[in-house]
C-alpha cells in the first residue's frame, strides 16, 4: 500500500523553509555588517560577546543589533499577522495596514506617548489594544454591510483614515507624543534600543506560539464556516481569537517600528504561491519571509543613499504599492486563491 503522508509537496516545503531559514540568517548577518560603517563579519561575534571596545564594536552592539532584531521581529510579526487576517477573513486584499489594525495601534501609541510617556511597558499593550479596536471595528462594519471582500477593504480605508486623523490630532497638541513622528508614520527602525524591543518581543513570542498551536483549527476554518462547524469547530469564537492574536502581533510590531506597510500583504502572497495554503508551513514561511523582507528592505534603505538613510517604510511602499495594484488587477478576474 502506498502512503501519501510524505508527499512530495511536503518534502519540498521542508526544503523551501530551510532555504528561507538560511536566507534569514544571511540577511541578519548582512544587516549587522553593512551600513554607513562596514564591519567585517568576523568581528561581529566578538563585538556581541562584549570583547573589543572599538567604535565598530559599539556600533554593532548599540545600533546594529537592536536594529536587526527589530527588523526580524517586526517583519515576522507583520507577515504572520497579515497571513492570519487574510485567511480568517478569506480576503486576499486584507493586511494589518489596510484594514485599520496598524493605524489603530498607531493612534493608541500616540495617546500612550502623550499621556504616559515614561511607561515603557504601556506602549506595546496600548498598541495591541488599538490594533484590536481597529480590527474589531472593521469586522463589525463589514458584517453590518454584508461582508463582501471589497466592503471590508473600504471599511478598512475609512477606519484607517479616522485613526490617522486621530493620531495627527494627538501629535498636534502633544508634539512629543511620538518620538520622531515622521519616522513613526513612515515606519522606520533606525534609533531602536533593545529596551524598546523587549516588551514587544514577549507579546510576539506568546502570540506566535498560540497561533502555531491553532494552525490545525485555521486549516479547518478555511474550508468555510459551515464545514468547519460540522467538523466540530466553533467558527465564530475561533475567528475572533485568531483576529485578536493577529492584532497582538501587528500591535507589538507597530509599537517599536511605526506604521510599516505592505510586509503583511506582500509576504503572505508570495508564501502562498511558494508553499501552498497549508497553515503550518504557510505561517512558518511568512514568519521567515517577513523577517527576510523587512531586513533586506531596511538594508537597502541604509545603503542606497549612504550615508543618508531612507526609512524602511518608504522602500517598502515603493515596492509594495505596485504589487498591491497588480493584485487588484488580478482580483478583477475573480480568482481568490491561486
Amino acid at each position: 500500500m502506498k502512503s501519501w503522508r510524505t508527499s512530495s509537496t511536503r518534502r519540498s516545503n521542508g526544503l523551501r523553509l530551510a532555504a528561507l531559514c538560511v536566507l534569514m540568517l544571511l540577511s541578519a548577518l548582512l544587516s549587522m555588517c553593512l551600513g554607513a560603517v562596514a564591519v567585517a563579519p568576523g568581528d561581529i561575534l566578538p563585538a556581541l560577546l562584549g570583547e573589543g571596545g572599538g567604535a565598530a564594536a559599539q556600533i554593532v552592539r548599540y545600533a546594529r543589533l537592536p536594529r536587526t532584531c527589530g527588523c526580524l521581529l517586526a517583519g515576522a510579526a507583520l507577515a504572520v499577522s497579515g497571513a492570519l487576517i487574510q485567511s480568517v477573513l478569506d480576503n486576499p486584499l486584507a493586511a494589518p495596514n489596510i484594514i485599520g489594525v496598524s493605524s489603530g495601534a498607531g493612534l493608541a501609541a500616540a495617546l500612550c506617548g502623550a499621556l504616559a510617556p515614561s511607561a515603557a511597558l504601556a506602549l506595546p499593550i496600548a498598541s495591541f489594544a488599538g490594533a484590536l479596536a481597529g480590527v474589531l471595528l472593521v469586522l463589525f462594519i463589514a458584517e453590518k454591510t454584508g461582508a463582501s471582500k471589497l466592503t471590508l477593504v473600504l471599511a478598512g480605508v475609512a477606519v484607517s483614515g479616522m485613526f490617522g486623523a486621530g493620531t495627527d490630532t494627538v501629535v498636534t497638541f502633544v508634539p512629543d507624543a511620538l518620538a520622531g513622528y515622521s519616522d513613526f508614520r513612515i515606519g522606520g527602525l533606525a534609533n531602536l534600543s533593545m529596551s524598546r524591543i523587549i516588551p514587544a518581543f514577549w507579546v510576539i513570542v506568546v502570540a506566535m506560539v498560540l497561533i502555531f498551536s491553532l494552525a490545525g483549527e485555521l486549516d479547518v476554518l478555511m474550508l468555510g464556516a459551515d464545514t468547519a462547524q460540522s467538523l466540530g469547530v466553533r467558527a465564530k469564537p475561533l475567528r475572533l481569537v485568531l483576529l485578536i492574536l493577529a492584532a497582538a502581533l501587528a500591535g507589538a510590531a507597530v509599537s517599536f517600528s511605526g506604521l510599516i506597510g505592505f510586509v503583511g500583504l506582500i509576504v503572505p502572497h508570495i508564501m502562498r504561491r511558494l508553499l501552498g495554503e497549508d497553515s503550518l508551513p504557510l505561517l512558518a514561511g511568512c514568519a521567515l519571509g517577513g523577517a527576510v523582507c523587512l531586513t533586506l528592505c531596511d538594508l537597502l534603505g541604509r545603503l542606497l543613499f549612504a550615508p543618508y538613510e531612507l526609512p524602511v517604510g518608504i522602500v517598502l511602499s515603493l515596492a509594495g504599492g505596485p504589487f498591491f495594484i497588480w493584485l487588484l488587477i488580478r482580483q478583477r478576474g475573480g480568482r481568490v486563491h491561486d
Partner: protein, 251 residues
C-alpha cells in the same frame, strides 16, 4: 440515529421550515426533495445545529442536540456543505481534515488518523489524486475528495447538500452508487437532490418538502404512488420497469 421532531427553523425570526418530523435511519438512503427555496438546506443545517431552531427538537441517538458540544455532534454526523471552498492544499490534507473531531488541542494527527484517511480515499476512489492540489482537480474529482473527507470523519450519519450539482451524469451516478454502498455498510445517508429520476432510483426513502412543510414522507414506492411529487413540482413523473429495476422519466 438522528431524529427531527416537529422541527421549525428559519432566519431572522422568519420560519422557513415548519413542524418537520423525520428520522435519518441507519442503512437507508433518504432523498430530500422539493422545489428551490422550500427549506431543504435549512432543514439539514438545523439538524446539525449550524442554524438555530425556533421550535421542536433534534435528537442525536436520543440526546437533544443542544446538550452536545460541536465536537460531539461532529462525531455523530458528517456534512457535505453546498458551498465548498477549494483551498490550495493537497487532496490528502483535505481528507485528513475530516479527522478533526477525533483530535484534541493541539491537533496532531495520529497513526489511526492517517489510516482512516487512506481508507476513505481508497473507498471514495480518490487515491490517485491524493497528492494533487485541490485547486487543480476537476469537479468530479473534487467531489470524491469531499466525500472521502466526510468518510474519514467516520460518523454514522452522512448529510449531503446537493452532492450531484455541477457534476456530469457519470459522476452523478457514481455519487449515488457511493451513497447506496454507504447505506449498505450501515450508515444513514441523507441527500438533498434536484434530479428526481436520479433520486427516485437511488434512494430508499423520500421526504418531499413544499413551502417549508413535509408534504410526503415514506419509501420511494409510497411517495411515488401518492402522486404528490407531480403536484409539488408541476411535472409528470412516470416510470417503466427495466431489467435493472424501475427507471423514472418525465412524461
Amino acid at each position: 440515529m438522528i431524529e427531527l421532531k416537529d422541527l421549525s427553523a428559519g432566519y431572522g425570526g422568519q420560519d422557513v421550515v415548519h413542524d418537520i418530523s423525520l428520522a435519518f435511519t441507519p442503512g437507508r438512503v433518504l432523498a430530500l426533495l422539493g422545489p428551490n427555496g422550500c427549506g431543504k438546506s435549512t432543514l439539514l443545517r438545523t439538524a446539525l445545529g449550524l442554524n438555530p431552531k425556533s421550535g421542536g427538537q433534534v435528537l442525536m441517538d436520543g440526546v437533544p442536540l443542544e446538550s452536545l458540544s460541536p465536537r460531539e455532534r461532529a462525531l455523530k454526523a458528517a456534512y457535505l456543505s453546498q458551498s465548498r471552498s477549494t483551498p490550495n492544499i493537497t487532496a490528502y490534507k483535505m481528507v485528513l481534515h475530516g479527522r478533526f473531531p477525533h483530535l484534541s488541542y493541539p491537533r496532531r494527527y495520529r497513526k489511526e488518523d492517517y489510516e482512516a484517511a487512506d481508507r476513505a480515499l481508497r473507498w471514495a476512489d480518490a487515491a490517485d489524486v491524493a497528492r494533487r492540489s485541490m485547486a487543480e482537480l476537476s469537479g468530479g474529482q473534487r467531489q470524491k475528495v469531499y466525500l472521502a473527507m466526510a468518510l474519514a470523519q467516520e460518523a454514522p450519519t452522512l448529510l449531503m447538500d446537493e452532492p450531484t450539482t455541477f457534476l456530469d451524469v457519470g459522476h452523478q451516478l457514481e455519487v449515488m452508487a457511493a451513497a447506496r454502498r454507504l447505506a449498505r455498510e450501515g450508515r444513514a445517508v441523507v441527500m438533498v437532490l434536484h434530479d428526481l429520476p436520479l433520486a427516485m432510483r437511488g434512494a430508499d426513502d423520500v421526504a418531499l418538502l413544499s413551502a417549508g412543510r413535509l408534504t410526503a414522507y415514506g419509501t420511494v414506492e409510497d411517495v411515488y404512488s401518492s402522486g404528490k411529487i407531480d403536484k409539488v413540482f408541476g411535472v409528470a413523473l412516470r416510470r417503466v420497469e427495466t431489467e435493472s429495476g424501475w427507471q423514472y422519466y418525465y412524461g
